[in-house]
């Protein structure tokens, strides 16, 4: 499993490089985020543009990551593909996360497109 982290002003943008967040990597996914988020206090945006498949274990892992954020802060998800969006909609978890069309939108106009 591979994540790429970009450190922005008061925020982390973490890109999931894998095509699947599923039961096979859910535990590793949570552990990697736990290490990444140590001491971080700002926003966390997960760029999921490359993720084509999310199952219920992957969804559970995203909820677990959100619980790692301080003070009830919400986890932000960007670039959800149709199949991933459907899983979130079916389980009504689309109301639980902050959802952005893509990572660029998540960081507003002050960010370059790089």
């Amino acid at each position: 499993m591979q994540l790429t982290t970009q450190i922005k002003t008061d925020a982390l943008c973490i890109t999931v490089e894998d095509e699947r967040i599923d039961a096979a990597i859910a535990v590793q996914f949570k552990d990697t985020f736990r290490k990444l988020l140590v001491g971080h206090k700002g926003r966390v945006v997960v760029d999921m543009e490359k993720v084509a498949f999310l199952d219920s274990s992957g969804l559970g892992a995203l909820v677990a990551v959100m619980k790692m954020l301080p003070n009830g802060q919400k986890l932000e998800l960007a670039g959800l593909r149709d199949a991933v969006q459907k899983v979130l909609r079916l389980t009504r978890m689309d109301s639980v996360f902050v959802i952005h069309p893509d990572a660029k939108t998540a960081f507003g106009s002050e960010q370059s497109a790089a």
Partner: protein, 146 residues
Amino acid sequence: MSPQTLIDCAFPGTFAHVSDHLKKLQVELERNAVEPEPRGDILIVLAEVLNNIVEHAYCAPVHGDIHLTVYAHKRSDKNAVYIQTIDQGPPVPADALSGAALPSLTEDIQDMPEGGFGWFMIHTLADSINYERIDDENRFTFCVGF
């Protein structure tokens, strides 16, 4: 048209093997021109069904194989994919099969459910679910119409 077998295989009941077989099946569904949305639904049902077997039938110390058959039936009035699984885990309790409710979402993030979505998604996306216990084996059949 007669039903067409997309996959007929047996593999060890682990999450990693399930993930690998789902990737193969995705390719088969694409090759058989199943449109993206039903393809996504079929793959989600399959993932949840197979992961349930790994989690509940083959939790330690019981290990074994999952026998999976998937076939597509294309007809003029309706298309459907049938998923059959056989495992040698313990019998599945009847109350485990009926539950199709979503875990309740709470206001407090720390109380949010991290599981319990799998059966709900199967019940929502599959047209029928059939369970039989035959000769110390669990046999499930799911149908996803599209």
